[in-house]
């Protein structure tokens, strides 16, 4: 009996050092795929490797053997001893593996729940697996259902709606102040990872120009280069306040870099066009009273973190809904998997009918004498539709009962009723049945 197995590590099961060992080299994934192909007891396989997770997904009939081969493979790949690795790995089998894959695709298993990247990474991993032709009927279906589940989760729940990082939260806010970012200008004061990330997000959302100011002009030039922006000196900030629409500030200055008085003066000159300050610095760069000015909005790091906190708890609430969707899809997939078990029986049933039909047709044709091609054609059609119509009900019945408790009994009865096993004798081994089920599924 074939089983879906999933072995891997994620941010919960393994420390970062170990994940790094396996994920550091992008070529690892391809190599792992090639190695998995070598393992004879693995029928279908796929390998997913991102900075937070490494997972092997495969189907096998010899579960224990396949599992230990895959762990060997992983330890070889990461250059870590077997013992170190095995304690950090999780293993899911059967329904649990299906659920796990659906949860990963829906970003429920991610470090930041709802982050959108994982789905793309999974699609890439699947694409390279299909390119190498290491996936088959079961994994193809599993992955497609996983992508479908992820889509449902995304559209039916608010799990990836609100921003959960400071820089994204800032961009989301800017979107509620400005209609679109086309023609809008950003002034970046100081440097720092979070501030530059926010500026980069704004750029990808369509902001037209970035100006960079820094206490040391040399540094401003350096940062500006990264954004294709314009460097200005620290003294020019006052003048830049007339031009900019969004100001991101992140300096190490002990006092305020931008004062109430300064902004008040420039608001008049800029004809009250809205001005949005994102103050990431600690201590703050923008005097809090600036927020009291009409059409000026100031958000400091605590405000942004407050928004994120609310969003994270909202996501957790939405995750409950998402888990329900995953469970629904797991049940559907299990049902499909069960119908897969009846496929070999259906195929041999059809084969038998076809063999009988061909033989009888041949006999009749030889005794009927000269017939026109159209007459032969209609005899073909006649016999074909008789066999098809007779077999239709039993086949539908078997498919319906596939995931019922008595499914196995019905299957067995059908095989005996039509003498399917004795007919083929010992010629049918498990392997060829496997091929049948593959070909059936493609039709």
């Amino acid at each position: 009996m074939i089983r879906i197995v999933n072995i891997g590590m994620n941010h919960e099961s393994a420390p970062i050092e170990l994940r790094e060992c396996l994920a550091k080299d992008p070529a690892h994934a391809d190599k792992a795929l090639a190695l998995m192909r070598e393992i004879s007891c693995i029928k279908e396989g796929m390998f997913l490797s991102t900075c937070n997770r490494v997972e092997a997904l495969f189907t096998t009939e010899q579960t224990a053997e396949a599992k230990s081969s895959v762990v060997d493979l992983l330890s070889e790949l990461g250059g870590t001893p077997f013992e170190d690795l095995s304690s950090s790995l999780f293993t899911h089998e059967g329904q649990d593996a299906v659920r796990h894959i659906f949860r990963v695709a829906s970003s429920l298993d991610s470090m930041v729940i709802g982050e959108p990247q994982i789905l793309g990474q999974m699609k890439d991993a699947y694409a390279s697996a299909t390119k190498e032709k290491t996936t088959g009927v079961i994994l193809n279906r599993l992955l497609h259902r996983a992508f479908h589940t992820a889509k449902r989760v995304r559209t039916e729940t608010g799990i990836s709606e609100a921003a959960v990082s400071v820089s994204y939260a800032a961009v989301e806010l800017a979107k509620k102040i400005f209609n679109d970012f086309k023609g809008k200008k950003v002034l970046l004061i100081g440097a720092g990872e979070m501030a530059e990330l926010a500026a980069r997000h704004l750029l990808t959302h369509g902001v037209s120009a970035i100006t960079v100011a820094n206490r040391t002009f040399h540094k401003a030039v350096e940062v500006a280069q990264g954004f294709k922006g314009v460097p200005v000196s620290f003294e020019e900030i006052g003048a830049q306040l007339l031009e900019a629409d969004i100001v991101i500030s992140s300096t190490a200055a002990p006092g305020y870099v931008i004062t109430h008085e300064q902004v008040k003066g420039s608001m008049k000159k800029r004809r009250n066009r809205p001005l949005f300050f994102i103050d990431i610095a600690v201590p703050r760069d923008v005097e809090p009273e600036v927020n009291d000015l009409e059409n000026a909005y100031v958000y400091d790091i605590d405000d942004l973190k407050g928004i994120i906190q609310v969003n994270i708890s909202e996501r957790e609430e939405e995750a409950v809904k998402a888990e329900r969707i995953v469970e629904e899809e797991v049940i559907k997939f299990e049902h499909w998997l069960k119908t897969l078990e009846v496929v070999p029986t259906i195929v041999s049933l059809k084969d038998k009918a076809e063999t009988i039909r061909q033989a009888e047709l041949k006999k009749s044709l030889s005794s009927l004498g000269e017939l026109s091609p159209s007459q032969i054609k209609s005899l073909e059609t006649l016999t074909l539709s008789i066999t098809e119509k007779i077999l239709n009900d039993p086949i539908v019945f078997l498919k319906q009962k596939a995931d019922r408790p008595l499914g196995k009994t019905y299957l067995d009865t059908a095989r005996r009723l039509f003498r399917l096993d004795r007919e083929n004798g010992d010629e049918v081994d498990h392997g060829s049945e496997q091929d049948d089920r593959t070909s059936e599924e493609k039709h």
Binding site: I177, R271, N272, P274, N291, N295, Y297
Partner: protein
């Protein structure tokens, strides 16, 4: 026939309003599409109703408070549909439709009096005057609604308390530009309404301006809107201040519309038009 058209229009617009409110809460696009279609059909019925009344009465059906409230609702919906073509802002309907529905409900509660049409109203100037004036009012109703939406959104962002309406309302810039655009259009139509009104008065009564309470109220509102528009265009008043002022301006307008008609009786009053007051 009249009752049939009016009843259908009322029911459809009420259903559309309900759907728009459900859309605001649930944020389902399909709900919105239903709401929009219902509103469109409701608007068509209302248009037929007004057209039919015009036909049977022989003059523009604005001689009673009841019918002019329906006409006001019609003008608001017309302006909303025009805005929809320009801005495609789905959430606007959730705020405009209730306003139109309120006017219609108000109108439906008033008794339909017998109208004796005086010959003075059998002039082409009447439909031109009230048409421009009411479309202008429709635009101002949109500035009012956009102003409310702006103030809600602005206070959420300013106070850093992002409530459930935060994600449902559009950006401040969008709301401000709707407010701005509606103000320009509303002002243009209002000016046209006042000019045609005075020509009508000259033709019918022999003087351009008679210091009728409604005229005075309208003039106050007109001056108010003129100042707002001027400040917007020259100094760059916008945002919260502009939103607040458009709220206030609309209230003056409503006073001019209802108050002057009912209490400060003169020739603009429905009582003197031949219809019984509601």
């Amino acid at each position: 026939m009249v009752l049939f058209l009016y009843g259908f229009a009322l029911i459809l617009i009420l259903l559309a309003t309900a759907a728009f409110i459900v859309y605001l809460v649930r944020q389902k696009k399909s709900t919105y599409h239903w709401a929009y279609r219902l509103l469109l059909v409701g608007f068509a019925f209302l248009s037929f109703f007004i057209g039919y009344e015009y036909y049977t009465l022989g003059v523009a059906p604005v001689l009673t408070l009841k019918s002019s409230l329906s006409f006001f609702a019609w003008a608001i919906l017309l302006v909303y549909l025009l805005f929809h073509l320009k801005f495609r802002l789905m959430v606007l309907g959730s705020f405009v439709a209730p306003l139109a529905a309120c006017l219609l409900i108000l109108s439906s509660t008033l008794p339909a009096g017998e109208v004796a049409v005086k010959p003075i109203f059998r002039s082409l100037w009447l439909p031109i005057h009230i048409g421009t004036a009411f479309v202008g009012n429709g635009f101002f109703a949109v500035t009012f609604v956009a102003g409310i939406m702006y103030l809600i959104q602005e206070s959420q962002i300013k106070k850093k308390r992002l409530g459930s309406l935060y994600s449902r309302l559009p950006s401040l810039e969008t709301l401000d530009s709707i407010n701005h655009f509606a103000l320009i259009c509303g002002f243009t139509f209002m000016t046209a309404g006042m000019i045609t009104g005075s020509i009508y008065a000259q033709v019918a009564l022999g003087s351009y301006w008679r210091w009728d309470p409604k005229e005075v109220c309208s003039l106050i509102a007109w001056i108010f809107y003129a100042v707002l528009l001027h400040e917007r265009l020259t100094v760059g008043w916008r945002g919260r201040r502009a939103a607040l002022l458009s709220l206030f301006g609309f209230l003056v307008l409503v006073l001019a519309f209802v108050g002057a008609n009912l209490w400060l009786s003169d020739y603009h009053s429905f009582r003197n038009m031949g219809g019984r007051p509601g």
